[in-house]
């Protein structure tokens, strides 16, 4: 089951540069939350703080709290490695491990955690994850082929399968469809709808229609000017956001759209 995330007074820095300012947001479990906003407003940056991927960039750090079911991820005693095990992530461009087969790609995360997996357990897990990622039927006959040989949309679903195979509580997705063609996009959107039964999903998208189609809640980030920190401008359930936003900037952005 998904877990809830509460972000409190989060300031996010790249070195000395304050990239995102004072974010407060409550992300509901088993719902899809979309982050939208103009380029550079910090959507990706915020997303990456939710599984402590932000800090792998040299000099990057945060101030504030991110509570996963009440436990602050940024507490001293929390190991980022285990956070990332609980919070999965899917990236803008599909990134299967190029040297691994489809099967090995799915198992990559699991093998890190537990080296002694029986073959049959592994088989079951691969099937489960690939079915979950809506990819099973397409690849079941060639699990030992390299993952890199798949089409873009298939690769992206493979990456989702790889992420869910570790059985995280939360799934973060940073523009997972922006490199995909419409048909693949549809497949991934369907998948997201389905996955929210099991996971809390946060998705960054440039595409407002996509947000409108798949998200339960939408967060609109904005920035005053280039070089200024971004901030969370408005957060609402998706219907409100797109039909009746109570925020002028959001209204302008949502209606004046042409992306």
């Amino acid at each position: 089951m998904g877990q809830r995330i509460d972000v409190n007074h989060l300031n996010i820095y790249y070195g000395n540069f304050l990239a995102v300012e004072d974010v407060n947001i409550n992300i509901e479990p088993n719902k899809v939350t979309a982050f939208i906003g103009p380029s550079g407003c910090g959507k990706s940056t915020v997303l990456r703080t939710l599984d402590r991927m932000h800090e792998i960039i040299p000099g990057a750090h945060v101030k504030g709290e991110v509570l996963l079911e009440g436990k602050n991820l940024y507490d001293k005693d929390v190991d980022p490695v285990s956070v990332r095990r609980d919070v999965g992530m899917v990236f803008q461009r599909p990134n299967p491990f190029p040297t691994m087969s489809i099967r090995e790609n799915v198992l990559a995360g699991v093998r890190l955690n537990n080296r002694k997996i029986s073959k049959s357990d592994a088989d079951d897990l691969v099937e489960w994850a690939l079915r979950g990622a809506n990819l099973w039927n397409e690849v079941k006959d060639r699990l030992d082929n390299p993952g890199i040989g798949l089409s873009g949309g298939q690769q992206q679903r493979l990456c989702i399968a790889r992420a869910v195979a570790v059985h995280p509580q939360v799934l973060l997705m940073d523009e997972p469809c922006s490199a995909l063609d419409p048909i693949s996009t549809l497949a991934v959107e369907d998948l997201i709808q389905e996955l929210k039964g099991d996971y809390t999903i946060v998705i960054v998208t440039h595409n407002m229609q996509q947000a409108a189609r798949i998200a339960d809640y939408t967060a609109f980030f904005n920035l005053k000017a280039v070089g200024q920190p971004g901030h969370l401008e408005y957060f609402a359930d998706t219907t409100t956001m797109f039909n009746n936003p109570q925020n002028e900037e959001a209204e302008r952005y949502v209606s004046g759209r042409f992306g």
Binding site: V81, D124, R131, G132, H167, E194
Partner: protein, 332 residues
């Protein structure tokens, strides 16, 4: 499209039920992973520290032994009229002026031969050949060529000049030929890499403006890749500037300054270092005063080695500077 929009539930229907506890890492395993991570961190840092010892020792030895005799006099005089361990009229003990000239001219010659050829070869590989059979062969052979032992290059240049010019022909240019053979693969490889990373966009943009291929290459592609090409060439020069064996064979050794690359022997710094090392001691007559230094050859040897390192350093500096000046301003 139809088969892609199939009912997703159907796909999960046959899915096996998974007991995820099975895959949960045991606590001890988590700890052991952490330990392993730490161990590797330590090991890698240790590898670094251990490897640093000899490398630092090499640098330190050269600097410590080299500074003793490294002065303006050493840089501005050659070895003519240097007898035994006695000082010369100028108050020094001979110097490396002639060897610096030789090194610069011979390496310069090698540059003039190999940089245009190497660069054009890279242009051919990247811009014209498009991975054909010939290009593959050339790429492979360039790789293989980078493994040519320097002494073989020396033998080649020596044999070539013996056969073409006649026996006993020793000149700086033969050294240049030997060095260019060693430089060529590095120049080709690095230029090739640099040309490859010039975005295809830019070529297309240029073609789309109705610019010919030749002008596109010279004015857009080469210009954009210039900083990288320069650093690559500097690297190639650094690679050959310290070659000794092929130069002993081809350029020989003299004590006076020879400015003519094409005629007569030429001293070079590495050969000088080696010659002085081979001399080891200078003789001081029993009657000689304290100004006669018996250990002067080794001291000169280290000082020349240091000069060589300094030249490499300066070259690197120049390379960086040039790269910076011509850098593609990409900051937004």
């Amino acid at each position: 499209m139809a088969d892609l929009t199939q009912d997703p539930k159907a796909s999960l229907a046959g899915a096996p039920v998974i007991d995820f506890d099975k895959f949960k890492p045991s606590r001890s395993f988590v700890a052991s992973r952490k330990r392993k991570d730490m161990a590797m961190r330590v090991l890698i840092s240790l590898a670094f520290v251990v490897a640093c010892i000899p490398l630092v020792s090499v640098l330190w030895t050269t600097i410590a032994n080299g500074v003793k005799r490294l002065n303006l006099n050493f840089l501005s005089y050659n070895m003519t009229g240097v007898v035994g361990g006695n000082p010369t009229p100028s108050g020094g003990y001979g110097g490396v002026f002639h060897a610096i000239i030789g090194t610069l001219e011979i390496t310069g010659g090698a540059m003039i031969i190999s940089i245009p050829i190497g660069l054009m070869c890279a242009v051919y590989l990247v811009e014209y050949a498009h991975g054909g059979k010939l290009a593959q062969t050339i790429t492979l052979l360039v790789d293989v060529m980078s493994g040519i032992p320097s002494i073989v290059a020396g033998l080649f240049a020596f044999s070539m000049f013996t056969i073409l010019i006649g026996p006993g022909s020793v000149n700086g240019f033969a050294g240049s030929v030997a060095l260019s053979l060693l430089m060529l693969p590095t120049v080709v490889k690095s230029s090739e890499e640099m040309l490859k990373i010039v975005p295809g966009d830019l070529r297309e943009a240029s073609y789309a403006l109705g610019v010919t291929k030749q002008r596109t290459i010279t004015k857009i592609v080469l210009r954009t890749a210039l900083p990288g090409i320069v650093s690559g060439c500097i690297l190639a020069i650094a690679r050959v500037i310290g070659e000794t064996a092929p130069l002993i064979m081809t350029a020989g050794f003299i004590v006076s300054t020879n400015f003519n690359l094409f005629d007569g022997k030429m001293a070079t710094l590495p050969v000088y270092v080696y010659q002085e090392y081979s001399t080891l001691y200078a003789n001081c007559a029993p009657s000689a005063g304290p100004e006669c230094v018996a250990t002067i050859p080794m001291e000169r040897s280290w000082a020349a080695a240091l000069v060589l390192i300094l030249i490499v350093l300066i070259l690197n500096g120049i390379g960086r500077l040039v790269a910076k000046v011509f850098a593609v301003k990409s900051e937004r």
